[in-house]
Symmetry: C2
Subunit: 146 residues, 2 copies
Amino acid sequence: MTETDLGRLLLEGHRALANELSDALEERGYPDARPGHAAVFMNIDRRSGTGLTELARRARMTKQGMMLIVDELENRGYVRRVPDPEDGRAKIVRLTARGRRYVAEARRVVAAIELRARRELGERRYEVLRSALDGLIGAGGEVVEE
Amino acid sequence: MTETDLGRLLLEGHRALANELSDALEERGYPDARPGHAAVFMNIDRRSGTGLTELARRARMTKQGMMLIVDELENRGYVRRVPDPEDGRAKIVRLTARGRRYVAEARRVVAAIELRARRELGERRYEVLRSALDGLIGAGGEVVEE
DNA sequence: AACAACGGTCAAGTTGCTTGACCGGCGCTG
DNA sequence: CAGCGCCGGTCAAGCAACTTGACCGTTGTT
């Protein structure tokens, strides 16, 4: 593929932030966080919980794939599956107390990282960076469907 | 992991450019390009060729992993392995004519994409984007070694 | 001459998904 | 209200893109 120079910068930038995040979470007592878990934590309804198939749809992956992640998260005590009282087929994936603590912590860390970046770059550069990224993304492939 | 908002922007930006690149290459007669191939094309010495182990080292992956990619590229006619006359153990991975055409084409497409981005964003924003990305990357985890 | 180090390869295991097949509850339709 | 197609969840197998482990022959160092 021979990455665009700019493309590589973007990828490395992403990795830099992602590493910072996972390091910080590890330090704070969540050493078992994997990137894939975000597919759940970013899409689950924080209080009411969300069905597996719906989670899969939101994360744009198969329900089987989502199941593997949910299985793991359930083993580790971040979520649990409860039967849906209104639909005998369905189960609802709900955050446990630990899961909610984790989400809150992750949000704090993300905010801290972003703040640090903002300060290091300076307000103006930071804003330009964000809007430039929006521009790049908007310009590319519009594949929304459904 | 619950990606940084900025982190997600970076990742999506990368994907937008990467898709643009692979679409363009497909259009121009290279439908079989896979992202992993870049590990070879970006690291191989264009005229003299490069040994497998050295390629692996440059791409920061195992020689076994590199071998799989080189195998595939050899099947598809982009590279071939020739014995190293100066070292009975070694083989040299060399670009074929097709491989060189591919690399040239990829470079052109990359340049075109970057130029387009530059024009869409405007000179100033483009420069700020690049230097902001450098800043982000530099700030993160320095894991260079060796 | 001996031998650790290196280049390349084969084999098997791992990760993080995917496609395929199925089961049982749901709800519309006739 | 019986039948039937659909949908949620799950098990099984497959696949991509690597990894670790083991090995062989060549090398060049002592």
